[in-house]
C-alpha cells in the first residue's frame, strides 16, 4: 500500500469538495485519483497517492529528480530482482 512513486496531475475531473478527482499519471499510466486532501494542486504538480487518494503535494524539482532515478533503477535492476525471486 505504501508506494512512494510520485504521480503528476494531468487534469482535474471534479472540483466538488467530497468527490474531488483528477487524472494522475504514474510512469506513463493514467489513473483517476481522489483529490479532496489537495484541493489547491494545479496541473503539472506532483502528488503522492495512497490507496487512491492524493495525500501530499511534492516539491516539483525533487519529484522530477526522484522519478528519473526510479526509472533508471527499475530498468537497470529488474533482472537482478527477478533472479532473487527464483528459489
Amino acid at each position: 500500500m505504501c508506494l512512494a512513486v510520485p504521480g503528476k496531475l494531468v487534469r482535474w475531473l471534479d472540483r466538488d469538495p467530497t468527490f474531488a478527482a483528477a487524472e494522475i499519471e504514474f510512469a506513463g499510466v493514467r489513473r483517476r485519483c481522489q483529490m479532496a486532501c489537495v484541493p489547491d494542486a494545479v496541473e503539472g504538480d506532483y502528488v503522492i497517492v495512497h490507496a487512491g487518494i492524493a495525500i501530499t503535494r511534492l516539491d516539483t524539482a525533487e519529484a522530477e529528480r526522484v522519478i528519473a532515478e526510479l526509472a533508471r533503477v527499475e530498468s537497470n535492476t529488474s533482472p537482478v530482482d527477478k533472479r532473487h525471486l527464483e528459489p
Binding site: M1, C2, L3, A4, T18, F19, C33, Q34, A36, C37, V38, P39, I48, H50, A51, G52, I53, I55, T56, L58, D59, E62, A63, V66, A68, E69, L70, R72, V73, S75, N76, T77, V80, D81, H84, L85
Partner: protein, 367 residues
C-alpha cells in the same frame, strides 16, 4: 565491502557513497535504529542498505505493516460477512491474502464467499452504487496514511445517500505503537526512523512530546535510497552528539503540520480508540473507529457479529518480528514451512511485511 548492488544503477551513486562514508566517519559505536514503516524495510533490504551498514548500524524492523497488525478477529469478522448472501466484502489485495484464524478472504472466495479486491475505498462506493441490492462492506485497514481514503469514501457514501455501503474499521495509529515499543522493558531501539507518509498526513509536531519523554531521536524519513541513508545519517549525528530531537529528512514531501485537509477529514470521521494489534496485543489509543455520527456506515453496527479473540498459530513468530525482537530468519519456519505462497503469518504475505522482504531480498545470505 559494498553490498549496495541496487544503488549501482543510480545516477546518485556518488551521493549514496558519500552518505555511507559520512555515517562511518561519524560513528564511534554500533547504534540500533528502528525503521517503523514496512515500505522502508523493503527499501533498506532491496537496495542492500541494511546489509551495507550492518557493521555500523543495526536496523530493527518495526510494526509498520498495516495488514500484518490487523487482528485475527477482525479478519474473522470480515470472513463471516463474506459468507452472507447479501454482502460483498471488499478490501485491498494485500489484505485479502492474509490468513485469519483459519483461512484468508481470498480462500473464502474460492469457497464461495463474496470477496472483491479494490484499488481504493472509493471504488467500493462505486460498487455499492452499481449494486443497490447488495450490501458492500469495505474492510478498512491501514495507518493514518490510509484513513483519509476510507474517510472520503464514507463521506461520498453519505453524499450519495447510499444505504448499502459500510466500513469494517480496523485502522491503526503509528505513534502509540512507537510509544509501546519505547516503553517495553526490553527495548533495544536508540532512535526511530519515522514513517514518511504517515507524517505527510499527520505532520511531525506531535513527536516533540514523544522525544522529550523518551529521549530517543525521531527522524522523518522517506523511501528512496538517498532518503533512507539521509535518515540514518541524521540519527547517527544525533546519537553521537548525545542529542534527541525531531528532524525531517523527507522535506520534499512532509511539512511540520502535515496535510491539514487530510487531518481534518480523518478527525471528522474517526475518533481514537484502544486497539488490539496482531502479534503485539492491546495498544492504548492504538486505533481509530468511526465517530457516533457515522454509525449508520459502521458494519459492526449494521451486522452484529460475535467473534471471539483467537490466538496466532503456534509456530508463527510474527509477534516477535513485528515488535523487533527477532529478525525473520531467526524463526524456525522461515523459508521452509512459511513462504509467500503458503504463509503461516501476515508478515510473509504483505508487500510491506518484514518476512516477505527477507524472503525476497536476503534469503541467499541466511540460508
Amino acid at each position: 565491502m559494498n553490498t549496495m548492488k541496487y544503488v549501482d544503477a543510480f545516477r546518485d551513486r556518488a551521493a549514496a557513497d558519500r552518505l555511507v562514508h559520512e555515517i562511518r566517519q561519524r560513528q564511534t559505536q554500533r547504534w540500533t535504529l528502528m525503521e517503523v514503516c514496512g515500505g522502508q524495510t523493503h527499501g533498506l533490504m532491496r537496495y542492500g542498505i541494511a546489509e551495507e551498514l550492518a557493521p555500523e548500524v543495526e536496523l530493527i524492523h518495526g510494526p509498520g505493516c498495516p495488514v500484518c497488525v490487523t487482528p485475527l478477529e477482525a479478519i474473522d469478522r470480515a470472513l463471516q460477512l463474506a459468507f452472507r448472501d447479501d454482502v460483498i466484502v471488499t478490501s485491498f489485495g494485500d489484505m485479502l491474502r492474509v490468513p485469519g484464524s483459519q483461512y484468508s478472504l481470498l480462500s473464502a472466495r474460492a469457497a464461495g464467499g463474496n470477496v472483491r479486491a479494490v484499488y481504493s475505498p472509493s471504488d467500493a462506493v462505486a460498487l455499492a452504487k452499481a449494486h443497490p441490492r447488495r450490501q458492500i462492506v469495505f474492510f478498512a485497514v491501514g495507518f493514518e496514511t490510509t484513513a483519509p481514503a476510507t474517510a472520503i469514501a464514507v463521506r461520498q457514501a453519505r453524499g450519495l445517500r447510499l444505504k448499502n455501503f459500510s466500513l469494517l474499521v480496523s485502522h491503526v495509529r503509528v505513534q502509540p505503537a512507537m510509544r509501546a515499543i519505547a516503553e517495553s522493558h526490553d527495548c533495544q531501539v536508540q532512535a526511530f526512523l519515522a514513517a514518511g507518509h504517515v507524517c505527510a498526513v499527520m505532520g511531525y509536531e506531535s513527536y516533540d512530546e514523544f522525544v522529550a519523554r523518551h529521549h530517543l531521536p525521531v527522524v522523518v524519513t522517506g523511501f528512496e535510497p538517498i532518503d533512507l541513508l539521509e535518515g540514518v545519517l541524521e540519527a547517527v549525528y544525533q546519537l553521537e552528539e548525545g542529542r534527541a530531537e525531531v528532524a525531517n529528512r523527507y522535506a520534499w514531501s512532509v511539512r511540520a503540520e502535515g496535510n491539514r485537509n487530510a487531518r481534518d477529514l480523518v478527525h471528522e470521521v474517526y475518533e481514537v480508540c484502544d486497539r488490539r494489534w496482531r502479534g503485539i496485543g492491546e495498544i492504548l489509543e492504538g486505533g481509530l473507529r468511526l465517530r457516533p455520527a457515522w454509525r449508520d456506515f459502521d458494519a459492526e453496527y449494521r451486522f452484529p457479529l460475535s467473534i471471539q479473540p483467537t490466538e496466532e498459530p503456534g509456530e508463527c513468530r510474527s509477534g516477535d518480528v513485528l515488535a523487533g525482537r527477532i529478525k525473520p530468519p531467526q524463526c524456525a519456519a522461515f523459508g521452509t514451512r512459511c513462504r509467500p505462497d503458503r504463509p503461516l503469518g501476515a508478515p510473509m504475505v504483505s508487500s510491506e511485511g518484514a518476512c516477505a522482504a527477507y524472503y525476497r531480498y536476503a534469503r541467499s545470505h541466511v540460508s
